[in-house]
């Protein structure tokens, strides 16, 4: 409780004081007037004291807004409602309505403010400074004053200010704020570090590889800051609704005050009183505040788990996803190829060495795996033997080595090279090698399946989501993986451009919402084309972060079903709030019109509904694992 008060701002404390004072004054007056009946005008003037204490700012703002020309402003309507209550002699109600209105505003202010702060704290990955070495001395400067190739020192407990490569030192990094992954990452000399992570134990020296505006932390912050620009359809509905709701209720209130007394020739007081009840519930605040707040909490909750959602519209789409399409490599599998077997056909040439030299300048994942595997034998590919290199998309590579044409790639490439080749009995990526039309043999490469993939697929199936896998692998290998993981549909032998075509085929079905999951390599078009493009393990891949709608910061596929769960839960809360707020308001309008519901019920319809809706919205920030 003490903590609660300590965290209030000055403005909030002042409002709380005003509420307490006006409540006490109103109660006191009620008691006093019960004992000593006073003249009507005297009690009016006495009740005006607590009324002005609590409502003076509302009255002032209402007056200013009328000058500004906006009459359907909630402050103006509150003023009319309470002034009307004074007019009909309900002094106590007038004070109560104003007190509860201010209480609701205060509550909203505190709840939103605190949620905002706790979410902002999670997203606060902004580094404050960098220790840069200039003229042999360590200087503390702002991260945007550091340039590429500068050397920075990061001490234990400090945040990595810019992306870079470790030159010296061993340490562990806490990347929880970035990836949601609680386990620290060990780093040694030569490893790259990403900005926003926290250095845990060792002092490291880092060579900066990108300036501040291009670093991971800036990209993430920009993404988070722009997230609220993209509104969900339901938010559009709420703001359109809010635009019409207030004027309609106000017109109904006017009609209610005028028409029945004229027709029934009864007294004005009773009908004016009922019309005032309309004005009290005429504010759509519960909806206007709680719906964006729910989305904000949902997006915040997802960020805490390392899932960046670029806007509430994507959260809305994510909740409706019927089919998840995986681009196999890098999502379900590690995207790191391992050489499984080498099957030479000729002894005259070292096919492994030739393949390593041919691939030595490429950064294709397969090329990297060959060079790495070759390196494990303690050898470096001799690049000086390499002449011109030509990459043939979807087929492989053609390289000139020692003046001879070497082809390294799939069967289609072998046909192109004119070499007579044969398929391998093993499944996986088969890399055939030929020299000047002579077939040398092949290398079998496989991509390891991530340990969490199978669980992720079964969790999606549990949520009634169909899974589809796209891959450039051969049919038998693709189906083997598909079966192992429990994927519903598998499409194999696809070139990068075929994947977009496949995604477009799937989108064509109007009944389905397609999420495409890729690792950002070669799949930007498919990410953009799908209903929800999800980039996985995308730290460092600018194209993927740009093209996608949802960014999974860590490469654990379990983040995917979790994202769907968070999205669905957020949408459920949004719907609950809309239905609840509308139902209660309409009920009170009806009961108020027929004279069953009084001013107190109307106050609940305004403030009570707001408070309940806000509390419900805050639930979106908590996720059940």
């Amino acid at each position: 409780m003490r903590k609660f008060f300590a965290e209030l701002t000055k403005k909030q404390k002042k409002m709380l004081l005003r509420i307490v004072v006006s409540v006490l004054l109103t109660l006191l007056l009620t008691v006093v007037l019960n004992i000593i009946p006073l003249n009507e005008y005297v009690s009016l003037i006495l009740f005006l004291i607590p009324y002005l204490v609590i409502g003076y700012d509302v009255l002032l703002k209402a007056a200013r807004n009328i000058v500004g020309g906006s009459i359907f402003d909630e402050k103006f309507l509150m003023t009319i409602a309470t002034a009307g209550a004074f007019f009909t002699g309900d002094y106590r109600e007038a004070c109560a309505v104003m007190i509860f209105y201010q209480l609701g505003e205060l509550f909203e202010n505190i709840a939103v403010g605190r949620t905002r702060k706790s979410i902002a704290a999670i997203m606060d990955i902004r580094p404050d400074y960098a220790n840069v070495i200039r003229d042999g001395e360590e200087q503390r400067v702002s991260p945007d004053e550091v340039f590429i190739n500068d050397i920075i020192v990061i001490k234990p407990g400090e945040r990595v200010p810019l992306d870079g490569v470790v030159l010296e030192g061993i340490s562990s990094l806490n990347t929880a704020a970035l990836t949601g992954e609680a386990l620290p990452v060990d780093i040694v000399e030569g490893d790259s570090v990403i900005s926003g992570a926290i250095n845990i134990n060792g002092v490291i020296k880092v060579r900066v590889t990108s300036d501040y505006s291009g670093s991971t932390v800036s990209k993430i912050l920009e993404l988070v800051e722009n997230a609220s620009d993209k509104k969900a359809r339901v938010e559009g509905f709420v703001s359109r609704f809010a635009k019409y709701y207030t004027p309609v209720v106000v017109i109904l209130a006017v009609l209610l005050a005028l028409v029945p007394p004229l027709i029934l020739h009864s007294g004005w007081g009773e009908w004016i009183h009922r019309a005032l009840i309309f004005l009290v519930v005429s504010c759509p605040c519960a909806l206007v505040v709680s719906v964006p707040l729910t989305f904000f909490c949902g997006i915040g909750c997802a960020s805490r788990e390392g899932i960046l959602v670029k806007g509430s519209n994507y959260l809305e789409l994510l909740s409706k996803v019927t089919t998840v399409v995986f681009d196999k490599t890098g999502t379900l599998t590690k995207g790191v190829f391992e050489v499984e077997a080498i099957h030479p056909e000729e002894s005259k040439y070292d096919l492994f060495e030739l393949a390593a030299i041919a691939e030595s300048k490429s950064n294709h994942p397969i090329a990297l795996s060959i060079v790495r595997a070759y390196g494990k034998k303690g050898k470096e590919p001799d690049k000086s033997r390499l002449g011109t290199v030509e990459e043939i998309a979807g087929k492989g590579i053609k390289a000139e080595i020692d003046g001879e044409d070497v082809f390294v790639g799939n069967g289609a490439l072998m046909e192109l090279s004119g070499a007579r080749f044969h398929e391998c009995h093993k499944t996986g990526t088969i890399l055939h090698v030929s020299v000047s039309g002579r077939y040398l043999g092949h290398i079998v490469i496989n991509d390891e399946i991530k340990p969490e993939s199978s669980k992720a697929v079964s969790e999606l199936a549990r949520d009634n989501i169909k899974t589809v896998m796209l891959t450039g692998d051969k049919k038998d290998r693709a189906e083997e993986i598909g079966k192992e993981l429990g994927i519903n549909e598998v499409y194999s032998d696809l070139l990068p451009q075929d994947k977009v075509v496949k995604v477009e085929e799937l989108i064509a079905d109007p009944a389905s919402t397609i999420a495409f999951v890729g690792d950002g390599i070669n799949d930007a078009p498919a990410l953009m084309r799908s209903d929800v493009g999800i980039a996985m393990g995308a730290l460092g891949s600018d194209a993927a972060v740009e093209a996608s709608d949802v960014v999974l910061m860590n490469d654990n596929p379990l983040a995917l079903p979790l994202a769907v769960v968070i999205a669905r839960r957020t949408m459920r809360i949004v719907k609950e709030n809309i239905v609840f707020a509308l139902a209660v308001k309409v009920l009170i309008l009806v009961l108020g019109a027929i004279g069953v519901a009084g001013m107190w019920v109307a106050v609940f319809g305004d403030v009570g509904v707001l408070i309940i809706a806000v509390l419900n919205a805050l639930r979106a920030f908590k996720v059940k694992h």
Binding site: R116, E225, S228, D229, S239
Partner: protein, 73 residues
Amino acid sequence: MRKTFELEDLDCANCARKMQEAIAKIDGVTYVSVNYMAQKMVLEADDQIFDEVLSKAVKAVKKVEPDCSVIVK
């Protein structure tokens, strides 16, 4: 130039929307976003006229919500 400013005491979501609309109408503003949840304003305008645009934007904010202040560092 694009800059982000903190907004203090931005108390209502509707006011944030009104501020954004008002600032967008100022000459020279190429992008503006007033974010209630983040209590931030992102303002973009040409470098030469940025300060001038900023002071107009601050006035626009004050007009919608006199209690709200833009923190200009």
